[in-house]
Structure formats: C-alpha cells, structure tokens
C-alpha cells in the first residue's frame, strides 16, 4: 500500500516534528506565526511510535534561528527541528533548553510585580527530575511549565 503524508511536504522552510500532542498551538504563538505571515501547515494528534500522539508543524520559507529552536524545547523537549531546502533536509538543529525566556508566559503569582506593571516577563529555566522548572526573574517563584500560560 502506498504511504501517504498526513501533512504535505514543503520545498523550503522548517519542519518541527515530535511535538507532544496539544503543544503545537503554543509553539505557533511562540513563533509569532500570525505576524510573520509565512504559510504554516499543522498536524494535530498524529500517531507516533515514541509519543503515542504527536503534533507537527511545517513553516514555509522561514528558517528558525538556533535561539527560536531552543525556545521550542520549553514546550517540546524532544522535538526534532529540520531546515528544509528544495525538499531536502539542509540542517538538523540540535536543541538545548535555553537559559531564559522573555515575554512568552505570564507569571501566575498574583502578587508578582509583573501583574501590575507594564513589563516583559522573564523566566529562568532549568531541568529538575526530568521536569522543566521556570523561575520568575522578578518574584523568584518557581513553576512547572504546565502552570504557565
């Protein structure tokens, strides 16, 4: 039986694979896809041997920087991120958890100064017992990734 692709191939751009199911929309927001206006194709709840269900994103005519790729690991620690040129993989980006992330999450601490002042939030990241922990630069409180929106 002929194998078909759930999400069509792209000529040039970036493919982000092995995203845990449910995280793709957060990554689209992180990458500011709406502002960039590049065509993006989304696969949600695709079957995966390693994850059970996974999401997948293909962004045409945009090559992610290493920093952008690293920020994706906050949502998808095992994502594979490939840059595509002329339908071929031109570069596999090796990701690592970034040291910090700015302006993406709100601080859930109701008494944090960031909830009343017009400032960009900033969180420091670390991995502890296989969990990603984020510490607010301002209130210094630590949160699990899932606590932040």
């Amino acid at each position: 039986m002929a194998k078909t692709l759930s999400v069509s191939a792209i000529k040039n751009g970036t493919v982000i694979d092995h995203i845990p199911a449910g995280q793709a929309l957060k990554i689209l927001r992180l990458l500011n896809i709406i502002t960039h206006k590049n065509r993006a194709t989304l696969g949600l709840n695709l079957s995966s041997k390693s994850l059970g269900l996974k999401d997948l994103i293909k962004i045409e005519n945009r090559s992610l920087t290493d920093n952008e790729a690293n920020e994706i690991t906050v949502f998808a620690p095992k994502a594979t991120i490939n840059l595509i040129e002329n339908f071929e993989i031109a570069k596999k980006i090796t990701t690592r958890l970034p040291e910090s992330i700015s302006g993406v999450f709100n601080c859930p601490n109701p008494t944090c100064i960031t909830t009343i002042e017009a400032i960009k939030t900033h969180f420091y990241l670390e991995e502890y017992s296989k969990q990603i922990k984020l510490t607010c630069k301002y209130c210094e409180k630590q949160f699990d990734r899932d606590q932040l929106v």
């Binding site: 944090c112 922990k133 301002y138």
Partner: protein
C-alpha cells in the same frame, strides 16, 4: 580586598558571591569595632517604604545619618503619587534623579528587581513581600558569626512560618554557603516552599522536617524563630501555627549552653518575655547589628 560591590544592587541573596558576602561581613565588623562618621558625606539616600516597617527603615536611616549622609523618602505609599496611579517604574526613575541610592520596601514580589532595572543608581531591597529581605539575612549571618565559634557545620533550627517569611527565604540561601545542618520546624501548611528544598538538595545541605521545637531543642546551636506573616497568609493557614511553634521557656533546660535564640522581630507570641533575660536570648543584639550591616552595604555600594 577591593570593593566588589561598588555601584551594584542588593536585591536577592542569590545574586551575591561568597566573596561579596565575606566583604559585607568584614566591612560591618570593622564599622562596629571602629565607627565611622563621614563615609556618606554629601550622599543622599532615598528611603522608599511602600509598606510599613520599623526596624528596617529606622536602621537604614540611622546607618545613613551616623555615616554623615542625608535621607529623603516616605514611610507610607499613601503619601506618594502611587495613589494617583503612577507606576513604580516612573516613581523610581524620578527618585533616581534626587538621590544617590534607593532603599525600597514594597508589597509586591519583584518590585526591588524592577526598581534596579529602571534606576541608574544602586538599589537595596528592604523587603519585597514574601520574596527576599537580603539585608536582614546578612545581619542574621553577621550575628550568628559573632555568637558562635564557627559558621561551618552549625545546627540551625528555623521555626514558624517558613512559607511566607521572606527572611527565611533569604537566610536559607545564605546558610547553604556554610554547610550547616538545618531543622525545619513548621506545620505542613506553612512549610518551606518546594523550590527551596530543591535548592538545599542541589547544594547538598542536610535538612529535616519537624513538628515541634521540643523535638530538636537539644541538638541546635541557633534557634531562629519567626512570626506568622498574617498579612500574607490565609485564615486557614493562620490556624495551623499553634502553640507548637511558640517557645516554651521550660524546654530551654534541655538546650545546649551555647544555644542562641534569634528572631527577625517584631515578635508576637512566639517568644514570651520571660525568655528575654535568659542567656539564650540574642534577638535584641541581632536587631542592633542591623545598623552595622546596613552601614556596610551603603558604604560598599557608594564608595570605591
């Protein structure tokens, strides 16, 4: 030793290196042994207390005046433009033009960090809600160093509201530098937040949880009492801090002769007045040391 702190900020203990902490302790000891009078000549300190304070505010102001500096500021946010809706960032930018250094206390966590971000003058955090109170932790360490033969390996009990007590959060980060053994005495609802127990684990510091002072009184060198932070905790949490966390003078008979009791003050019911005249009580000496530590901080931040 060169001045590693000149023109910097004191926001959180986690920002300080062991060398900087040593410099602060050494400078405070020198100022206490031989008081100086004009190190802050021609310097203006802005004392910006958006939340009530007695000891911290007055000891910063006393430290400034005794060193020949001058004080401007306020002790109540109600008398500032905050009431008109001015942002903290705008207030701090403006105050930076009027003073050489800003001391800030604020009811929002992270306010001092934000102030330091927008100010071109050094900022000292004099307490930001339940987060940090670095100058208190430094004076606590200074006091422990004075009243015990060594810092390394001491057995320290931290008692009471370990969840909301900013002094505790700052002090724990400081004590971890000296390989001390910690006994955490608190009800479960007010126990030390997980991020600090993770921190202690990462640093390899031995610690254990206890439900009453009696369990640990024989073992400890320092009994650090705290009050319930009623202004920050829920009614349910307030009920949990019962009499187990109040010092019963009778149990001091079991204590080491060298035990010292500390408290960041103000106390409420945690230490009865009858303890004040025992050789264990050391909290008034501790409060007095606030002036020396704050003189050290002001001097180091403002003079090369």
């Amino acid at each position: 030793m060169s001045n590693l702190l000149y023109n910097s900020d004191i926001i959180s203990i986690s920002d300080l290196t062991p060398e900087q902490i040593q410099l602060i302790l050494t400078t405070a000891a020198k100022l206490k042994a031989k008081p100086a009078h004009n190190l802050l000549h021609n310097k203006i300190i802005a004392s910006c207390f958006f939340e009530p304070s007695t000891r911290t505010r007055l000891s910063f102001e006393s430290a400034t005046l005794r060193l020949g500096g001058q004080i401007i500021g306020f002790s109540d946010a109600a008398s500032t433009s905050t009431q008109k809706g001015e942002s903290l960032q705008d207030s701090i930018k403006i105050i930076s033009n009027y003073a050489d250094l800003i001391v800030i206390r604020h009811p929002r966590e992270g306010a001092a960090r934000l102030a330091a971000d927008v100010s071109d003058k050094p900022v000292i955090n004099a307490g930001d809600a339940a987060n940090q109170h670095p100058s208190q932790a430094l004076l606590d360490l200074f006091t422990i160093k004075e009243c015990q033969p060594t810092l390394k390996g001491l057995n320290i009990a931290l008692v009471g509201d370990l969840k909301y007590g900013r002094t505790i959060h700052s002090l724990i980060q400081l004590l971890a530098l000296f390989d001390m053994r910690l006994f955490l005495v608190a009800p479960e609802a007010l126990s030390l937040p997980e991020q600090f127990t993770h921190f202690l684990q990462k640093k390899g510091i031995k610690f254990s949880f206890h439900q009453s002072i009696e369990d640990i009184i024989q073992k400890v060198d320092i009994l650090y009492m705290t009050r319930l932070q009623q202004e920050r905790c829920s009614a349910l949490e307030q009920q949990t801090l019962g009499e187990h966390y109040t010092l019963n003078p009778a149990i001091l008979k079991k204590a080491k002769a060298s035990l010292k009791i500390l408290h960041p003050l103000p106390r409420v019911h945690e230490i009865p007045a009858s303890v004040d005249n025992t050789p264990f009580a050391h909290y008034f000496e501790q409060a007095a040391n606030g002036v020396w530590i704050r003189q050290a901080l002001l001097t180091l931040l403002l003079t090369q």
